[in-house]
Every structure is written in C-alpha cells, then in structure tokens.
C-alpha cells in the first residue's frame, strides 16, 4: 500500500503530507540496510533492480561496505495501521554515513530534515557515533525516533538497550521501536510512526522562493546536480534561479526528485527535497549551504548556511610519474566538485617533485580520496605522512601556519600550537584502566567519565589531534578487544613542546620525511624512520648514512652499506636480446627512482616509509 493517488505529485504536494527525515547511527549499525527495506516497502525500486545497500552506489562504498555520501530518496507511503490508517504521505529519507570522518555529511543532511531515525544495533548498544550524531540532531532541533535494529540477531538484547536508549533520548522504553533491517520486521510500523511522530515541514508557500542547497554533485553526463530542500515558496522548471551568495542567475535545465533514480518534475514546493540542474560546469557556483531563489521574485534574506568543514589532516599527494601532475590537478578539481571538504594547493618537494598539499577530514577521507584518484583517474600516487596543522609564533611575533612539516620556520620559535580534539570513548567498564593508560601516553587530559549503564562507560578526554589521527584507534581497539568506540571533534588548540625532526640521506634533508612531533617522541620517530629506510633503500655504489636530526643535532643514525657486486657474471651465450631487454627494464626502473642528491630512492621506499601501518578505514568502528 505504498501511495495514495494524488498525494505524490512533486510541486503539488501538500506540505502537511511531507515528512523529511534522515537515518543516523554509529557506523555499521544498519542504516543502509534499513533504507533498503524502506525502498522495497514503498515500491520505489523495481524488485529486479534491488540489491543490498542499494544507496551505496560508489564502487568504493560497496567494496568497503560503508556509506560515504548521504543519499536522499523520495518515497510515497500510506499509513497501514492504527491511528490515521489510510493517510497518504511523502517521505524524504536521507541515508547518512556513520564514520566519524563524514560527520560533515551528516550535519548537512540534518539541515534538510525535521526528524531523525536514531538507529542502534540491538546487539551492540549505544556507541560513540550514536552519541555524536544524536547531539548533532538535537542541535538542529530535530524530532528523534529511537530505533533498535538487528533484533533478529541471537545476541540482540532489545530490552536492555531499549532502556539505555530511552534514557539517552529521554523517552519511555516502550517508545523505542524495534526492527530488523535484515528481515524487514517492524519496518512498516516504523514508517507509520515516522508519519505520526515527525512534524511536517513548515514554510510560507506564498513567500519568495528559498531553497537550501544541501549537496552538490558533479556528474560527467549531466554536469552539476544540486540537491535542495525548499523552505518557502515554489520553484518551477521554467524559472530562472538565482544563487543568493553570488547573485549569479542560471537557466534551469531540469528539476526533479530522486526516487531513487532522478524523476523530472515541473516544480518543487514547500518542504520538498529534490534536485536541479543548471548546466553550470563548476560546483563552486552551486555551493552547499547557499540559498537558491527565483530571479523574477528574489527572496530578501538567505537561509542560514553551513559552516565549511575544516580539514583536520594534511598530506602531500604526488604523482609517481611527474608528467601526471596536470592530470592530478584536473582529477582533484573534479573530486572537489562532489566533496566540499577536500582542499588542496600546489606544493613542490625536492624529493617528490610537484604535487598538492591536501586537507582531509580524517585518515579514512584521505585514504578514500587517494583510492578514487588512483582508481577513477588512473593515477599512481605517493602520499606523504599525514599531519595536522600547527601554528608557530616566532620570537619577533610573526606567525606561521604550518600545513607541511618541511615548511616549519627556521629561526627563533617562541611557541608552537597544535590542534586538540574532544574525544569520547565508549567501552565496557573493564577497560577503563587500559583506556586511561593509552590516553595518558598520548598527552590526554581527562574531562570526565559517566556510566551509561551498569557496565558501560563514557570517557571524555582532550587529546592533541595529532596523537589520535594515526594509530590511536588501532591501539584502542586492540587494548579493548574491539569493544571500545571512538568519536572526536576539534576543540581548539594548545601550546606544546613540539620539534621538527628531519631525515637526512647522505647529509641531504629529505623534505618528504620531515615531521613535527612532541619532543618526547622525536627520538622514537627518528629511529623508526631511519631503520625503515635502511631496509627499504637498496644499497648504492657508495655507503649512505641515514640520519635523523632536530636542527643540527643528530638523534639517530643508520648506514646503508655500499653495494659490492652489481654485474651479471654468468655465461649467457648468444642471447643478447634478452640481456639488452633486461638492461632496458633496469633503466626504466632507474627512471622511476627519485634522486636525493646522488642517492637513488625507489618510489616504493617512499610509499612504505610514509605509510602509517594502521588502516584508517576502521576508525570509529567497533567489534562485530
């Protein structure tokens, strides 16, 4: 019973019948799977086209089994049971990502909604991103529907977690809905409750049109596709629209809703969520957070925008083949179109050539961008070790913002500031000791500790951001047998005793290896990198000393012994072609070497030495 005839008509839908909501949860608690059931129950997807996590459309999302981009879908629904049974409604559902790096995606989805389905895995209970996303939803004044998912699991404890969840959102345990995204149990009731519990959008249908841009995506076939939520008024396909921040006016080529494929429509009215295409090729002309109005009858005031996401970590991306530099620029420009959080500017490295210093929301974001650049644009890249941003104040009062450690200023440094993060760790109380030990070792300051239930603890810390972006989550996971979850958000900066460690090959600094670290960790960093390089760099015709230094003080040293034999001393008879081809292959290999002074360093050595051993893709995940 998906639709009531007449209700689901974009541009002519009574705003009282519209419900805009997003599904928010900790990573892997089953948002996309629940969305699948909704797509099926509302019959917007042809059963033959259905596949698991239908809305995870990108290859990289499907391979990793995680959502990276939010997806909005319009679905018709008629209340099946109970009060108001038979009432028709139009639901705009947004499936959001759960990983901490993509909190920004969640925030802008929230701004297009009146309500949120807060999903919790009934076998896991509340986790760090459950809290983080709930707080975000509350800040946006959304109505929350608490839902336990995966009740089909033998390990599910719906009663226990219903209580926990009710405590958290401030409702009665009976008000917590129970579903299984896998079997579909409880999902029709959930849809009924969404219509009953969530408020309809309010807006002035007669006022000048105002629509909030909450996403903007570049599509190679259609150009820039802009996703909007209409707040006031009405946009019709014949209108010329105006971007309120720039005043730029565009012809509308297409207007429509996503259901879950694009469906053209004549108009969009109050409360509706849809897309528009103007033919502009540059997403920057269609900025997320901007307000769209109509040129002939423009609104006076724009809607409140979004804060631009601030990159938390930086890394240099360099093409392995220097001649790919223009392609890398073009590829970054294209990705940027869909990803406001990605920032980059050209930089050059003596060791790596020309590349870009790129800012990311976190390590998973970095990893995904690098993978997309390599996969979708066929580039071979080296990424330098990620770092956070430092603010250096010199004795003369001059200030330098350092996003690349090799640009750390020389001269008298008065003070160095590092970014900090407010960290929330949720774990069974058995692990409190070991978590505290870990946080203390990372210069953490305990802010507080709360029991969510008899055996579940929330620990709050301030930690230097630089201490958590690398292997912190790995460490946390292994020390808590996977039971801890982690969330963090930026929390300003603090002065710290930081030093820059340089790595020298045969006396020459290799800029790509310079790092800014706390003075107590400098020695450790120096010896680790020097030892790694000693193994990774092939022996040369001469001895190569590897040194780690703070300024002119050497803190660690390794030596690569000179190679003594590099000659094929075998009887090879008349097969000279093979020998020549072997030589040519070696010459090719030599070309792929990066020269540091006279030292030939293979690309692989850079890649391996710069790789942090942990896999960022797991950050924020908890044990299954």
């Amino acid at each position: 019973m998906p639709a009531t005839p007449g209700v689901n008509q974009p541009g002519a839908t009574d705003s009282g019948a519209i419900r805009n909501f997003c599904i928010i949860a900790h990573i892997d608690h089953g948002k996309s799977t629940l969305a699948d059931r909704m797509l099926q129950l509302t019959e917007v997807v042809d059963p033959r086209q259905m596949r698991a996590q239908y809305l995870d459309r990108m290859d990289i999302e499907r391979e990793r089994g995680i959502t990276i981009k939010s997806q909005a879908v319009r679905m018709p629904w008629t209340i099946r049971e109970g009060e108001r049974a038979g009432d028709g409604a139009v639901l705009n559902m947004i499936d959001t990502p759960g990983h901490v790096d993509f909190t920004y995606e969640v925030s802008r989805s929230l701004a297009a909604c009146e309500g949120a389905v807060l999903l919790v895995d009934a076998a896991q209970g509340i986790e760090a991103q459950t809290l983080a996303n709930l707080y975000l939803a509350m800040e946006n004044d959304l109505t929350i529907i608490p839902v336990l998912n995966k009740i089909d699991l033998p390990a599910a404890q719906p009663e226990k977690y219903a209580e926990e969840l009710a405590n958290l959102v401030g409702c009665l345990p009976e008000e917590v809905l129970k579903v299984s995204g896998k079997t579909g149990v409880g999902v029709p009731h959930l849809l009924d409750e969404i219509v009953r519990r969530l408020p309809a959008p309010v807006g002035d249908a007669q006022a000048p049109a105002r629509a909030m841009i909450f996403d903007s995506v570049y599509d190679i076939y259609r150009g820039v596709v802009t996703y909007v939520r209409v707040v006031d008024g009405h946009i019709s396909a014949r209108d010329r629209i105006k971007m309120m921040s720039t005043g730029a006016v565009h012809e509308l080529l297409e207007l429509g809703v996503i259901s879950p494929e694009p469906v053209k429509s004549g108009a969009l009215g109050v409360g509706e969520v849809g897309y528009l295409i103007t033919g502009v090729k540059d997403v920057r002309q269609s900025r997320v957070g901007d307000t769209v109005t109509i040129n002939t009858r423009p609104a006076a005031e724009s809607l409140g925008g979004y804060k631009d996401p601030k990159p938390m970590v930086y890394s240099g991306l360099y093409p392995i083949d220097g001649s790919d530099y223009p392609d890398l620029r073009e590829a970054l420009d294209k990705l940027k179109l869909n990803d406001a959080a990605l920032v980059y500017e050209p930089e050059s490295s003596a060791a790596l050539g020309f590349g870009f210093r790129c800012g990311f929301l976190g390590l998973l974001h970095l990893e995904i961008i690098q993978e997309r650049l390599e996969r979708e644009f066929g580039l071979d890249l080296i990424a330098t070790a990620p770092n956070v941003v430092y603010r250096v104040v010199m004795d003369d009062g001059k200030e330098v913002v350092v996003t690349n450690p090799s640009e750390y200023p020389v001269g008298k440094v008065a003070e160095v500031y590092e970014p900090t993060a407010r960290v929330t760790v949720l774990a069974p109380n058995d692990y409190v000791g070991t978590i505290m030990e870990l946080c203390q070792g990372r210069r953490g300051v305990l802010l507080g500790m709360d029991y969510l239930s008899a055996d579940r603890v929330e620990l709050r810390y301030t930690l230097p951001l630089g201490e958590i972006i690398f292997d912190f989550f790995d460490q946390l996971k292994s020390r808590t047998k996977g039971y801890a979850s982690l969330d963090y958000e930026p929390a300003g900066e603090q002065a710290a005793e930081l030093v820059k460690v340089d790595i020298l090959l045969q006396g020459e600094t290799v800029d790509a290896f310079s790092a800014i670290v706390h003075k107590d960790k400098a020695y450790n960093y120096g010896t680790t990198i020097a030892a790694k390089l000693q193994k990774l760099i092939p022996r040369q015709q001469f001895e190569v000393p590897i040194q780690a230094a703070i300024g002119s003080r050497i803190i660690a040293r390794e030596t690569i012994r000179a190679i003594r034999k590099d000659v094929l001393a075998k009887c090879y008879g008349g097969d000279i072609s093979r020998k020549r081809k072997l030589l040519e292959k070696q010459k090719e290999g030599k070309k792929r070497m990066k020269m540091v002074g006279r030292v030939e360093v293979p690309q692989e050595a850079f890649i391996a030495a710069l790789s942090t051993s942990d896999s960022a893709g797991d950050a924020g995940k908890s044990k299954k």
Binding site: Q541, F542, I563, R564, K565, D566, V567, L568, A569, K570, C571, Y572, G573, G574, D575, I576, S577, R578, K579, R580, K581, L583, E584, Q586, K587, K590
Partner: protein, 403 residues
C-alpha cells in the same frame, strides 16, 4: 641458452633476411654455433635449453639429421661464401653425442662455408663424458679447443649443484685433453654456491690452475627461476647466494688467476694470452655475425637477431618441412645497437672508446672515473675500461653510461 626466449616479431618461414642484413657481410667475421640440447641429467641450478633422454622427445640421430638440415638451410639463406672463423658446439652436453656425430656436423659446416685456415673450433664437454679416446677423435676431426664444466672441487659444492662428476675428474679431463693435442682448454668454475667457503673456492682455483689450462671462466651462481635450486631457496632449504660473498670470491679469482698468468679479458673470463681467448665469444661481444644451429639457438647477422624454437621435436619437425625453425626475431635499431655495444664492450678489458659514448655517456664516464670504477690511464688514453671494482659494478656503470 637461457630457458626463456625473448619477445620479438615473427620469423618469416623462409628464414629470409632483409637485404640490409647481408650488406657488407663478406667483410664481417662469421661464426657458427651448434646447440646440442642433451644432458645425462639436469643440474639443479641449470636453466639452459637442455633435456634428458626421456624428456627430449627427439632421439639423438634425428637431432643430428635435423642439425645437418639446418646447416644446409643456413647456407641457402646466407647465399654468399663466408669462411667460418669460429665454431662453438655448446649445450647441454655436446659430448653426449658420439664423437663421430660431432665430427660429421663439423664436416658439414666445413662443406657448407669452408672453415678458415686458423679457425677456432670449440666444444663444451662435461668431465665425465669424455675419455682419452673420444678426445683424440674430436681433436682429429678438427676441434681445436675444449671447454669443460668443472664448477668446483669441493664435494659438498658439487653435491649441492647436483653435478655427476667426482671432484678430481675435471682437472684430469683437462689433462687428457692436452694429451690428446688440444692446445686450448678451458675450465668453467661456479662460485658463491651456498656452503662454499673461501678456502673451498681457493682450492678450486688452485686445481684449475694446476691443470695447466690456458683459459678459465668463473661464473657467479645465479638462482634461475624455475630450477630445482630456486625451489629449494624458496622453501628455505638452501640460503640465497649472497652478493657480498660473490664479490669476495670474484676478487679471490682475480688474484689467483692473475698470479697464475691468466689475465681477465671479459668480466667472467681469464686467458693466458690473445690466442687463448675464446674467439667465438669475442665475436658475440663485438657485434660479429653468427648462425646458431639447433633448438633454442640464437643467431645474429647484420643487425638481425633471431632465435629458434626451443623444443627439440618441434625444431626437427620445422626443419624437416623446409621451414625456418626461427621462433622470433628482432631487427635492431641504431639505438639498440648502441646500447648493446656499450653493454657488451664495457665488460671487455679492451673497453669502449670514450668518443663512441653518446648523450649522458661522457659525464657519466667522468663520474665513474671519479668513483674509481674506470681506469685512469685508459681514460687518459681515450678509453673507458673498468677497474677491478668497476668490474664488480659493471651493470651499474653500464646503466649510468646509457642514461
């Protein structure tokens, strides 16, 4: 001949050469290589194109017939009369064939082109596959030089290498060869075998010297893909030979051989004098022409390199049909020839003229000189010639000269 063949363009069935390949052919030295693809058993390290009697799919008489047919085929393709300056019968183990067969094959080569009066005629031989009588027959048939695979005198090394002969047999065979009238005798040594000590190798060198030969080849053991040795190394049963050890052994070889009056003339080869040097190999290294007869044999004529199919039975079938047994060929460009020239000549004691170096070559030569890899006297005289340390880093110097 290593086991895998290079990639190249297809060989025309007629074996016909582009006209340019034969231009001025009469003025270039010409040799014949004859590949005998049989061994009594395969040594664990060896990836040469050779087969035990059960593997080959071709019996020895049919092989001889096929090789005789290819000699005739070669004569037709080359057309012009060209005295053969060098003949090299290699393997495999040529001396698995009855000496009479080797004699017939040599006679066929002589009939086809005519041997030059002072031609060098070498056969490889395994120590256990010759005796005074067979050596005498070979010498009388016109062979002037014999090259014996000694490898080592250390029993545990021979065992690891899976050699069939006793430690003393190679030196003994060398003496028998000299007694049979061979003026030029070579012994092959392999160094760097896992488990071989410095003293083991010193003793092998001393035994080679004591055998009174006028030529020694000393090769560093290479673990070739697909060999039994490679399998054992992969499984961790045998350690990978170390390059540092190989460098030490090489220096030991240079010291012992030079002291015995055998002087290096190529990275892996030492000879008593000019006449003792292997003229056939020098022809390979200086861009000469030769036709390679037999399965998997490589040839070069005037800038065309080609190689025969590897499987003996396949080879015999093609040649019986009057079709070229060539599996592929390569027409060298000017650049290819230059690369080969630097690659091969720099390994020789005669080196390469500095004036012949192109592009980045001259500055690279200056760097190599400064690094002690090129001989300063030779450099002053206009030649790039490797020093002892340079010989050990020859591949690196070659890569540098070619950048």
């Amino acid at each position: 001949m290593p086991a895998t063949l290079p990639d190249g363009e297809p060989m025309p069935p007629t074996g016909e050469l582009p006209g340019s390949a034969l231009d001025g052919a009469a003025d270039r030295p010409f040799g014949v290589y004859l590949h005998v693809p049989f061994c009594a058993s395969r040594c664990g390290y060896c990836d040469f194109n050779t087969y035990t009697p059960t593997e080959s799919g071709l019996d020895q008489t049919d092989y001889v017939t096929a090789a005789l047919a290819e000699i005739a085929f070669a004569r037709r393709v080359l057309g012009t009369d060209r005295p053969v300056r060098t003949v090299f019968v290699g393997g495999g183990t040529p001396t698995l064939l009855p000496p009479g067969d080797l004699a017939r094959l040599l006679a066929a080569i002589d009939d086809a082109w005519g041997l030059a009066p002072d031609a060098e005629v070498t056969t490889e031989a395994n120590p256990e596959s010759v005796n005074p009588a067979s050596l005498k027959t070979l010498r009388e048939a016109g062979f002037t030089r014999i090259s014996l695979g000694m490898q080592s005198t250390a029993p545990h090394v021979l065992r690891l290498l899976e050699r069939r002969h006793t430690p003393g047999r190679a030196a003994e065979a060398a003496q028998e060869a000299r007694a049979a009238g061979f003026e030029h005798v070579n012994l092959d040594l392999i160094y760097g075998t896992p488990g071989e000590t410095a003293a083991d190798f010193d003793r092998s060198l001393a035994a080679a010297v004591a055998a009174g030969v006028d030529h020694v080849s000393a090769y560093s053991l290479i673990v070739e893909e697909g060999t039994r040795l490679a399998g054992r190394v992969r499984r961790g049963e045998v350690p990978m030979p170390s390059d540092d050890v190989a460098a030490d052994r090489y220096l030991a070889a240079e010291t012992a051989l030079d002291a015995a009056g055998l002087h290096w003339y190529e990275v892996s080869n030492w000879a008593a004098d000019d006449a003792a040097r292997c003229a056939h190999n020098l022809l390979y290294w200086t861009g000469g022409d030769w036709w390679g007869i037999g399965p998997g044999a490589h040839s070069h004529v005037g800038g065309v390199r080609w190689w025969n199919v590897k499987r003996p039975a396949h080879y015999a079938k093609l040649i019986a049909e009057g079709v070229s047994p060539g599996a592929g060929r390569e027409l060298l460009t000017g650049e290819d020839r230059y690369v080969e020239d630097v690659m091969l000549r720099l390994r020789l004691a005669s080196g390469i003229a500095l004036a012949d170096l192109r592009d980045g070559g001259p500055p690279a030569a200056r760097t190599a000189l400064a690094d002690g890899l090129l001989d300063p006297h030779e450099y002053a005289a206009g030649r790039a010639v490797l020093t002892l340390r340079g010989r050990l880093l020859a591949d690196a110097v070659i890569r540098d000269l070619l950048t």
